[in-house]
Subunit: 342 residues, 2 copies
């Protein structure tokens, strides 16, 4: 079965869900263009989720994807939080910022309550990052007819997802921007480039495989298909579209020479994610053991980021980007979707 | 100009030079099959190089490639060497090994003396790793009609090589096995997956680009061509060929599930190279600052490796492999070459 048949879409292009960088507007544009638009819900309240889903239903009759993180929210470790704030103290002083008492997680995992909201919308596709939620929640999503997807960063993860009965697997190569989907290991040496990961996953599993990481244009899509992909899920390429809520400093970084140097970093959330090198990453090293557990690391940075961005600085902003930002174009998401499809 | 025209070969397939793992026999087989066979000289004495080149000339009338490292041989740092040996002491005791006084570098860079030997053979192609040798040496190689190649691991390195007038550039993706060609930086976060690196280098330079890293079969070759490659340089896929001198423990590792987990490691030589995880890498971490400068790190390990391999153990062996060992087949190099060409 082709991906188009599986999802009921015209083009084998999924717009990668990018929490914090896009909402319903982009999802609608991509779905109406024949691709599969995505709504990332990791940073939405249930109320906001309801609003966004209502907007999508009003904006398109086409299939769309709703994406969730499925991490376990950690207990706050006061000692680790204190050590982290100590590391950030010079910046807090420089920008004259007082932090509150306790961090507030900025990202919430999929839950029964989220499933309750989602049930009314029965999206064609529900995708997860960081593995899968509890089996009963997966079952609920499948129960209302949604196809269930998740990301694999290794062949082992792909085989695990396949055993859980997912309908398709996203092979997320090392090149991909944003959070690594890695969930069976914390060892970053296990992470494999798209060119090696994709054909090995495609050979290992019986479900369609969707390529992510480094895909910037129609030639990239063709190459992914040669390597066994049934479809692709580009993200970075959409970050300059008018429908994206990408910040001004982030847009500028993506269009600069600096975009050629990204790194996996845990500084912004506590989990490894790929972004363009900036001051914080250079100062603390992109991976620093002091960063609190996901998603708590970002809390202490939020005020710093806001203040710095107001001054036009990206020192503390997660400048998510894959290793190939050459496909970023300031064109509508619909045009980009069609251009990717070639 | 196609790669075939540039080199005078039938197929756009270069067999990656693999110092220590193959000699003239493989180069002859690949060249006679229509690809470009390679002789790696980094671990050969001038005498051995002369012998091997003579064998190639006798074995084929087709074009071939001669490959050299072009590092600066470091001074021996006695303090660092002592710290390194201290780290290895438990293993030396376990295997009852006494080390000699001073390490002997196991790899030699390209030199005027090597050029003197090479001049008599005028190979169609001379390729370098770790940048380029002194300009006068490059000029000599070009003077006798050789096409000059080198590897780039970033767009910046590709632009640098292009400015030095190389005839083609090998885009060495993160997935590739063996030594990273990285030479403008020591920062491993700069390393880019093949899927992202290849099209960006192809767009940036005016010379043909050869893809390396993750290419295991004809579909991989087709994908690389989609991404702008003029040819490919697979290495790992050749390691099980009868013409390879790959050790028994290395062959076993390549055919095991362990091949799915490789890492960049500096433990075996002092420079980052990709190999299958083994005991030493797990114990010391694949990257350890105590490892002496390239190529000295390997010296203290040589006796350990020999003893362990004689007992069937790969604990101290560099098990070089890319992230896609799925193309390794126990078939003659000529058959593999033709199979890659599809």
């Amino acid at each position: 079965m082709t991906l188009q048949e599986l999802f009921g879409v015209e083009l084998p292009i999924i717009q990668a869900p990018m929490a914090g960088y896009q909402g319903s507007e982009m999802a609608i544009a991509v779905s109406n263009a024949g691709g599969l638009g995505s709504l990332p819900c990791a940073m939405l309240s249930l109320q906001a989720m309801q609003t966004e889903l209502t907007a999508i239903r009003a904006g398109t009759a086409k299939p769309f994807n709703v994406n969730f993180f499925c991490h376990a929210t950690p207990e706050i470790d006061t000692e680790r939080e204190a050590a982290w704030r100590k590391l950030l103290r010079p910046y807090l002083e420089e920008f004259d910022i007082e932090l509150g008492d306790a961090p507030t997680p900025l990202r919430t995992p999929f839950s029964a309550a989220a499933a309750d909201v989602l049930a009314a919308f029965k999206p064609a596709v529900v995708s997860f990052h960081f593995g899968l939620p509890a089996a009963d929640l997966v079952k609920r999503a499948k129960g209302w007819g949604s196809k269930v997807l998740s990301s694999a960063t290794t062949v082992e993860e792909a085989l695990w997802l396949s055993r859980q009965g997912v309908d398709a697997i996203i092979a997320q190569g090392f090149e991909a921007g944003g959070h690594r989907g890695i969930f069976l290991s914390e060892d970053l040496t296990t992470q494999v480039g798209t060119f090696a990961l994709l054909p090995q996953i495609a050979r290992a599993v019986g479900v369609p495989v969707i390529a992510a990481g480094g895909i910037a244009d129609a030639k990239g899509v063709a190459a992914a298909m040669s390597l066994g992909a049934a479809g692709v899920q580009p993200g970075t390429a959409f970050l300059l579209c008018p429908e994206a809520t990408t910040s001004a400093v982030h847009r500028a970084a993506l269009q600069s020479d600096r975009a050629s140097h990204t790194a996996l970093t845990n500084l912004f959330t506590g989990r490894p994610a790929r972004g363009i090198m900036n001051r914080l990453m250079a100062d603390l090293g992109p991976i620093n053991a002091a960063a609190p557990a996901f998603p708590l690391a970002g809390a202490a940075l939020a005020a710093l980021r806001k203040k710095a961005e107001s001054l036009g600085k990206d020192d503390f902003s997660p400048l998510w980007s894959g290793q190939n930002a050459s496909g970023c174009r300031e064109i509508p998401a619909a045009a980009l979707t069609r251009s990717l499809a070639g």
